[in-house]
Structure formats: C-alpha cells, structure tokens
Symmetry: C2
Subunit: 309 residues, 2 copies
C-alpha cells in the first residue's frame, strides 16, 4: 500500500511523521518519487498536477488538504468514481482566532507600551477606549474571518468585515467588493488581514491604502507577506501613521537576517505561527481516516459531488 | 442630601454629569469643598483619606469605586456599621476577561518567547498544545471569574474554576473549598488568580502551594499583590518551576523602583491596569443605586465584612 502526497506549500516529512504515528507502515510517494502507480491506494492532495490521479488504477480514496475540493475536481481527468474526503479542520479556525484575539487585545490594551514602560520602570496606566468604541476591521471573511469577527464582536468590539463576495454575520458590519474597501479601511483602527493571496490582493496594503486608514492604526497580518508593500509599511511605521504591527507572514520566509522587520521597535515578528496546526492537525485527521479505511471502515466526510461539498 | 466623592485618578465632573442624569438634585462634595459633614449621606470613594469617612455622622452607604473594598476597610477609622456597596460593573467584568484572555493566549502561544527570539533574529516556530489539552485554572468565581471561565472554555481550553463556596458553570469543572485547592492547583498549567484579598487568601500563593502546580506553569495575578509571597514566586521563577508571570498587582503600588519584578526576564508588569474602573459605567451604576437608596430600596451588592467581599 502506498500514499501519493502532493501539496506544494508543505514538505512531505511532517506528513510522514503524522502518518508514521497512526499507521503501521507508510510508503509515501511524491512527484519526485512516484514508483509504481499500481501501489497507490490513497491520494492526499492539494491541487495535484493535471491528469495525475487518473494514473493510479487502485486508488481507493482521495483526501483533500482543505475544506474545498475544486482544486481536485477542476481536473476533467480526475476519476470521480473514487470517493473524495474533505478536510474538517476546526482547529485551524480556532487557532487563527486565538492569534487574532491576542494581538487585537495586545494593541487595544497597551501591553506593547507596558512592556516598554517596564524596561524603564515606569508605572503609568493608560486609559483605553471602551471596546465598543474600538473599530476592528477584518479583511477576508472565509470560515476563519467569520469566526474571528464573531469572537471579537462577543468581546464588545465594533467589528467590520470586508470580503470579495457578500457575507453576513449578526452584529458585524459586512462590506464587500472593491468599491467599499476605502470605506472599510477608513474605520480600521485595528486592521486584521486574512485575505488569500491572489493577483488582486498582492500589494493591497500599500502607501495609498494605508493613507485611507485612521492615524495611529495597528496592522495584524495573518495572510501572506506579499499582500503588503514592505517599504510602504515601514514608512508608515516611521511616521506614526501606523502605530505598530504584528506580522506573522513575510515575502521571504524564514525572514532573512538583514530584514528591517526584525529590529523595528514597533514590529512584532512571529514565525508564521498564527495557525500552524494546519499541517499537523490536517495530517493527523487524514492519517486517522486512512487508518479507518485500512480497517474496512469509511473515512468521512465524503464529498457529495452533486451538492459540491 | 450631599454625596462625598473621592477618587484621585478621576475628576468629579464626569460623576457630576452621571449623577445629574439619575438624580433630581446633586450636591457633590470633594476634598476641595467638604462643606458641612452632617449633609453627607453617601460616600463614593476609592482610597479616601484616612479618617475622612468617620467624619460624616449621617452616612448611609459607602460606595466603593471598584470590586474590592480593602482600600476602604484598610482605614481602622472607617465606620464599619455603614453598609459598603461594591461595584458590579459589566464593563469591568468584560475588561478583566480581556486582560485574562490576553495573557492566557500570550503564554499558551509562546508570544513571550517569540519576542525574545525576535531580539535575536531567530525564526523558530514552537508547537503548542491543542487548547483542549491546556489546563487553565481560575481561582475566584465571582462574576468576573465566571465570565473568564466561560470565555476561555468557548476558546476550547480545559477550564477549572475554584472558589470558596460552590459554583457551577457548564463546560467548566468547578471545585470549591480549601480541601480541593491542592486538586485545583495540580492542574494549573496556567493559573489565574482573581481571589478577593481576605485573611484566608493573603499569602495563598506560597512555596507550598506553588509546589502543588505542574512544572513550568504560568501565573497571572489580577487579584491583589498580598495574595502572593513575593520571595517564593521569585524563587519558583528562578528554578523554572514557574515559567513566567503576568502581574498586574503588587504589595506596594506604584511598584517601587528597587523591586526585582521590574527587571526579571520572566515577569510582565502591568500597572494595575487589568480592569480599571470605567468612570462612565461606574458612575452610572452608583448613581442608579443612590437613586434606589433615596427611594427606600436597598442598593447592592452589600459587602459581607466577615467574608471580605
């Protein structure tokens, strides 16, 4: 029995480890080492090369590394008689919300400032705004964005969500479309970026869009580094237009040693750690379901192709 | 009828406004204009000057501008036959929960460590436990403790509450009584102290009780400084028994310049800022309860001085 694995953004070793824990024997095949296609019984994939899956005649299940499956069904050659299992990873959503809550509270309640005061032995309390007077704007309203909106709203914050297509959530002002971006940004006393990286979102946070934000705003980036024009953010931090930033993602990762981000006093660097359980918990989830299949049970949730999920 | 008002960090005009809305007539007396002490029927105070309250022979109620009352009962001359009403402020509860959420997430997700790594330009991700494998123990289940328990439980944490008297909350393991303190502490991978300061809770966090906690635990103190034996905590931080602490309260406040807390690398000092009384909402609460008293009803909650809160 072999498992074909393909996900460009992840290395196979994390999966090898997770599978090794759950399964007695693991023969992991990648594009670099496909071996005999007849051995492959399970495919664990994000956007596999076109035509690849049809080459495995003994394929029993296709596991999607994601909640969606269009990255698999897009390929007209995908053998649709093979059941597709989609990922259910509530952990990722929860972990991302925790990261966002932490940094929103960190900035809102001056913990950054108190840390600097501690270094100078200064005992000085700063009055913060009531939560309901603090505008938090979340760009990107997928499952994660919606969850973060809800949790911030539950804490009393005034939350605005912005997404490409229309969304709605009780207690949250949901804006959508390019035309309302300026409106959303004008409220962003704390900006949380959760947008997927696409040609449209590349360089979205730039000199022009930063100008749309209130003076002294905070930026929390949990999306991808390339959504921000680095020099424009640096400039805004230096002038005070942006008060501080919590950045988890960068154009080059690991962040190179000579990058200014490391040493800027208003920047908090985390090493792409906002929701890293992605790989780990996804691998655990899929490994446990391969284990089920090997024991003659059915993995779940199996996608209903008529319904589309 | 006159109201004596004293809070050094606030000006009387905000209170004058709030009282003016709730009461038909307001005669607010301050240290600057005490007038005839016989007029004063209500005192609204945070840490009034020693001996002041006993000078009002017709005092009916003392309102504490805070959840605690030791800033009033500390004064041996305080007329203890006069009922003391403590502040119940939903805003204060929410703010305290925000403080607690921040520090629980801060420690749970290694943000303390990432800050130190940033100083050394180290890009290294640390795997954290799943929330449901992280035990958070909250000592003190008043309104604030219960709210914090609920919110942490909503984020998936494994929450244990401990209080003097029996409480219950869905999804939270509520222990009570001195006999179960050891049990509670043995789970406290993150300990949140919200206990009121009483003779029983003074010095409660000491060498012996710290030993009951898991190795590498975190301590978040939002109670009063005197609940912790400073030297015992210092020792535990130095040995690594306690991994780090977020301390908002201290025996002496402002924290003296020569205190070791300021410079200990594992200590986060905040200047009693976890839930500073919100002037607006506190004034509204107290004004509405003075209104009750003037209509012959009882303000609440009245402090049980035997119990201490």
């Amino acid at each position: 029995m072999a498992i074909y694995f393909h996900w460009e953004q992840s290395t196979a070793d994390i999966w090898q480890d997770a599978f090794g824990t759950a399964l007695s024997h693991v023969d992991l095949r990648t594009e670099q080492a496909l071996g005999d296609p007849k051995d492959v019984q399970f495919a664990v994939v994000w956007a596999p090369p076109k035509g690849r899956l049809k080459q495995f005649p003994n394929l029993k299940y296709i596991f999607s590394i994601g909640a969606g499956v269009t990255h698999i069904t897009d390929d007209p050659d995908t053998p649709l008689h093979v059941p597709i299992v989609r990922l259910q990873d509530d952990m990722l959503v929860q972990d991302m919300s925790c990261h966002i809550l932490h940094w929103v509270l960190h900035f809102h309640r001056f913990y950054d400032l108190y840390k600097r005061q501690q270094a100078e032995k200064v005992w000085k309390r700063h009055l913060y705004r009531d939560n309901q007077e603090r505008n938090v704007v979340i760009l990107g309203l997928g499952q994660t964005g919606l969850d973060a909106c809800q949790r911030l709203s539950d804490l009393g914050f005034k939350v605005t969500g912005w997404s490409k297509s229309q969304k709605s959530l009780t207690g949250v002002d949901c804006l959508h479309g390019e035309g309302s971006l300026r409106h959303a940004l004008s409220r962003a006393s704390i900006l949380v970026n959760l947008l997927p990286l696409t040609p449209e979102t590349t360089d979205l946070i730039n000199k022009e869009t930063i100008e749309m934000m209130p003076d002294g705003a905070f930026v929390i980036n949990c999306s991808r580094g390339a959504t921000i024009v680095d020099d424009d953010l640096r400039q805004a931090l230096n002038t005070g237009k942006i008060e501080a930033a919590a950045l988890d993602v960068f154009r080059d990762e690991p962040l190179p040693q000579n990058e200014w981000y490391w040493t800027h006093p208003k920047v908090n660097v985390t090493p792409h750690a906002a929701a890293p359980s992605n790989e780990r918990s996804a691998a655990q989830f899929i490994a446990s379901h391969i284990h089920r299949a090997l024991n003659g049970e059915k993995p779940w949730p199996i996608v209903d192709l008529q319904r589309g999920y």
